[in-house]
């Protein structure tokens, strides 16, 4: 019995991914119908994100270190957080529109379709222009890796892609959890900005800058510290915040899986509590 349930669950995930892929391809094709507009908005996305790095550069034009970290180290944090968040935003960033769909009743059309709702909402209005943010993060990351002073080992090299993917997973979980909250709050999509955009902004700066309670919050409550702070401290050979044990630098994949599972449960609870506006 358990095995059939397991297989059914796997089938459902596969089905969700297939539906997600189909809807995404549809939006990509429609985006490509207006290529100039796509290029302009992708560039705009790139430029808006690049601005916070310009602000960091301006800061470092006046000081040599921030919280004891050099420009190259801050750039590494920035690049890692930027790429992880950019990937999550590219994949499911449009989920923040869920509140609007709940309010105007268009969520109902998604519910009656024979496809997983989460996949439909996640792929809704897929914005390829968000690649601009990923590219910007990759450029800063590339710059950081060429200038940062690291004693490279196999573990440290392997940790890089693991960090980016786990980080994207953690941010995806935040997006899904925030969307689940929209079922209750409907009109509060800005709350998710605090954790998504606010979270990635925070991770761009060294943990030494922030108050201990804030660091505890993003380690144990919303575990964003696993996106880049903890593994980056290992790579750079810096002391960990909160005196955490050395192995936590390798925990991001586990944290990402746990976060996604919890977010999935929250999503399910949210969807079950949904009452249509009837309009």
């Amino acid at each position: 019995m358990a095995e059939t349930a397991h297989a059914a669950g796997r089938g459902r995930v596969a089905e969700g991914l297939r539906v997600y892929g189909l809807i995404v391809m549809m939006w990509v094709r429609s985006t490509m119908a207006y290529r100039t507009s796509f290029v302009l908005t992708a560039f705009g996305n790139f430029a808006i994100t690049a601005l916070d790095f310009v602000a960091i550069l301006l800061m470092f034009s006046r000081v040599d270190a921030l919280g004891g970290w050099s420009l190259s180290e801050v750039a590494l944090l920035y690049g890692l957080s930027g790429v992880s968040f950019g990937l999550a935003d590219l994949a499911i960033g449009s989920m923040e529109r869920l509140g609007r769909r709940v309010r105007d009743g268009t969520l109902d059309t998604l519910l009656v379709r024979p496809a997983p709702v989460l996949a439909q909402v996640a792929a809704d209005r897929f914005g390829l222009r968000r690649l601009g943010r990923v590219v910007q993060g990759l450029l800063v990351l590339g710059y950081a890796l060429t200038v940062v002073d690291v004693d490279w080992s196999v573990a440290k090299v392997l940790l890089m892609p693991v960090m980016l993917l786990s980080g994207a997973g953690i941010f995806c979980a935040v997006f899904v959890a925030a969307a689940a909250f929209q079922f209750v709050a409907q009109d509060a999509s800005e709350v998710s900005n605090a954790f998504t955009y606010g979270g990635t902004t925070m991770l761009q700066y060294p943990p030494t800058v922030f108050a201990l309670d804030l660091v505890r919050g993003v380690t144990f409550v919303v575990p964003l510290a696993f996106v880049n702070w903890l593994p980056a401290c290992y790579v750079l050979g810096r002391p960990y915040p909160l005196d955490l044990p050395r192995w936590v630098a390798f925990a991001p994949p586990l944290v990402a899986v746990a976060c996604c599972a919890l977010a999935g449960l929250a999503w399910r609870a949210g969807l079950r509590s949904y009452r249509s506006t009837g309009s």
Partner: protein
């Protein structure tokens, strides 16, 4: 402008205020987000001023105050966009604008009144809590004199007009481009960077600093903040903001006149 039409625009402004007042949950969510962003920024500023006290002529308390002022004014002054421009662009795109042009009201003043109404609501609803939170938990420097607060509020209102005038130009671009998303995005980018929202403009190095301080966007955050922090004289600030407001509104009129001729040509 007669008394009658003056009353009309007051009513439009009141409508704008009330309209945003209905989004209670969204407003609360915005207050929460502003407070969280303020929290993140304040620690980076504290680290920056720890490294270099008196950076840009501010002491640490002034820098902290600047962060919370930025979060308090962000929505009211639509520094990151938001406000009437989406709606106006949509009306231009669909052709509904033709109806507006027949109304016995001035298009620019109508939208100005509606946007000032919106801005005043957001100043009260989204401005007070982050500023109070910041002053309770961080070392801030706020004046005790009522006259300084009054001068600050005048500078904020003038900032609202400059912000409107800039976004009006952005919105009118839809007459030529139809899809104004790109222009709008560029408007935000320049606005965020040149208003002091990312970093106070007095921290910008050398000639770059002098240029951004002379641009109209400095009226949005830097100018009111410096009045409140006692870093700039009230009168000089008002003149600076007033000149930009009048100049930008005048350019808006010229563009509007050219755009209206375009509506006739398109017959839409």
């Amino acid at each position: 402008m007669g008394v009658g039409s003056g009353r009309l625009y007051v009513a439009v402004a009141a409508g704008g205020f009330r309209r945003y007042a209905t989004y209670r949950v969204a407003t609360a969510a915005g207050v929460f987000t502003n407070t969280v962003f303020g929290l993140v920024l304040v620690y980076t500023y504290l680290a920056l001023w720890d490294e270099k006290p008196q950076l840009g002529g501010y002491d640490q308390a002034q820098a902290v105050t600047f962060v919370w002022l930025g979060q308090a004014l962000l929505a009211a002054l639509a520094i990151g966009g938001g406000g009437f421009e989406d709606e106006l662009m949509e009306r231009i795109r669909t052709g509904d604008i033709a109806v507006d042009l027949y109304r016995p009201a001035d298009l620019q003043l109508w939208w100005l009144a509606a946007d000032v109404g919106r801005a005043l609501f957001q100043l009260v609803a989204r401005g007070v809590v982050p500023l109070v939170f910041g002053s309770l938990f961080f070392p801030v420097e706020l004046p005790r004199e009522v006259s300084v607060w009054a001068a600050f509020l005048v500078a904020v209102v003038l900032g609202m007009v400059v912000s409107f005038a800039l976004r009006y130009l952005v919105a009118l671009s839809a007459f030529w481009l139809l899809d104004g998303t790109g222009v709008k995005q560029m408007g935000w980018i320049v606005g965020l960077f040149c208003s002091g929202m990312l970093l106070p403009l007095n921290v910008f190095p050398g000639a770059l600093g002098e240029v951004v301080r002379a641009l109209p966007w400095s009226s949005l955050l830097q100018a009111p903040a410096d009045v409140l922090l006692g870093e700039a004289g009230a009168l000089g600030t008002f003149v600076f903001q007033g000149v930009w407001a009048v100049a930008l509104l005048a350019v808006g009129r010229l563009v509007q006149a050219a755009a209206t001729r375009r509506v006739v040509v398109q017959g839409g």
